[in-house]
Subunit: 320 residues, 2 copies
Amino acid sequence: MGSAATRFCDLGESALIARIARRAGSVSSRDWGLRIGDDAALLRPKAGDEIALSTDAQIEGTHFRFGRESARTIGRRALAVNLSDLAAMGARPVGALLSLAAPASAKVADLDAVIDGFVAEGARHGCPLVGGNLARADQWVLDVTVVGRCRRGRALRRRGARPGDGLYVTGTLGGAALARLSADARGGRLTRVPTPRLEAGQALARLPGVRACLDVSDGLATDLAHLLEAEGVGAELEPDRLPAPAGLRRGCRALGLDPLAVQTQEGEDYELLFAYRSARSTDASPMLSRRLGLRVTRIGRVISTPGLQGLPGVAIGHHF
Amino acid sequence: MGSAATRFCDLGESALIARIARRAGSVSSRDWGLRIGDDAALLRPKAGDEIALSTDAQIEGTHFRFGRESARTIGRRALAVNLSDLAAMGARPVGALLSLAAPASAKVADLDAVIDGFVAEGARHGCPLVGGNLARADQWVLDVTVVGRCRRGRALRRRGARPGDGLYVTGTLGGAALARLSADARGGRLTRVPTPRLEAGQALARLPGVRACLDVSDGLATDLAHLLEAEGVGAELEPDRLPAPAGLRRGCRALGLDPLAVQTQEGEDYELLFAYRSARSTDASPMLSRRLGLRVTRIGRVISTPGLQGLPGVAIGHHF
């Protein structure tokens, strides 16, 4: 049912919701007493759980454009960036709600692909689509609320960094931004979807000495500022140590970009940034890399003087 | 800080979020381990709780227009219609997340008033603003996720209606639609905010014999169809019994509207519609009204033959 040309306005709201529910499937889960199709989804928490709730929107024109990336990639990314917030808390995903708005002229085939991408990304991370909403708007809006669980009192927070703590980051920085800027420059398709660092976040939540954590979504400079401001402290960064993916310098040179700016001011890597205090004030990267099963790099340390040292000329502040 | 002319693009995203957090206040609550300002809000469930999660968007142009109603009313309604979904489950509100999108040219004064309305409505119902998101879009989008709790296994659902059950509705039908249509006709302001029937829903969840429940948000005909289709049953309605607010007939006459169509096809009353089986198949309205502390009216009964009888000429189906 529904040719490639079928539009939202050709089907009723109920038919579209039924279509989404069908694609979401009936993942059996003891977590949920009730899912799509009622007035609310019903979560059954386990004893000792805290429930983490986070919401984030992906908006056509602001965050994505059909054509520039596939509808499936758009659906996948909408969930992935939300899961990254759960990763930053050390939470395990339980399910997601999707509040979707689109023009009446939107193609049903795009809806199908967005939902398929969303559901596929959820399946990778144990996060079924459990509810949502559908509304008419001038542009596509994918508003996602993710639900996760963590052991009571063990969630990672932004607060807690203390002078002397080492600052660490998972993975590499700059690769996602370079991919986007390259796609923009050559008019190519953007296919990259960030990997939410869920297992790493859960491992950090179990590790004594991890003091504060967030995901790098607005750029290292901005996000680090959030972490520092939460405690009124500062940081001394070592820019030479910022972990770069292979080919970053070459790629930046080709586009006439400053690699350091790409690494610190663009924020699509969704890596975890955290403060860690070890008994010995040495570089704990090797141990942390082993524990997290992922490259971890020490990029500087927390100091008592507010502000960011070691990143000259980098303006902090994400504009609306 | 911020004159009436200040726009979103004049302030940074962080400043806007700080502004929202300040207006949301710091309602002390043992339910929440963490609120606005981190990557996620942290809910501490109580033993024996199920957590109800529901999401609904109010979109500029589709659901509201600045000027036609005040920014404060827009904020209040965005939360109220979401709380109605919790009411329909018999859940008690615990908190809400607001994912807000707006144009860069949006007025900060409107943001303030929207948030104040949202927070005021939440204060009436014990539902603090605990988290959210801010993004840029071509139009305002207020995407709300409400979180509620109910006793495990006691939530009201859409399923469960059986032939012989009486069909009941709280309050009156048609008043909200008439107010909107009147405001449209005379170019007046729309000031009405629906009252989520939270206490009534919680009372229904405790009452044996209540079989299925939802809130009337798309119109009685459409919502009743949802309730019936969930069980493959039908209903015999008694249109003469539909509870009307004072002045509905007169108001409809003045606008040249059919009162029955206004009562059954327009859906902004957010009353509860439910199926109830009593030992004796009499009209249980007097008892239910006493229990719910609210007018309750028997409007028909569930029958085994699918379809809706007694509402000739009323087409079912909400269009996108």
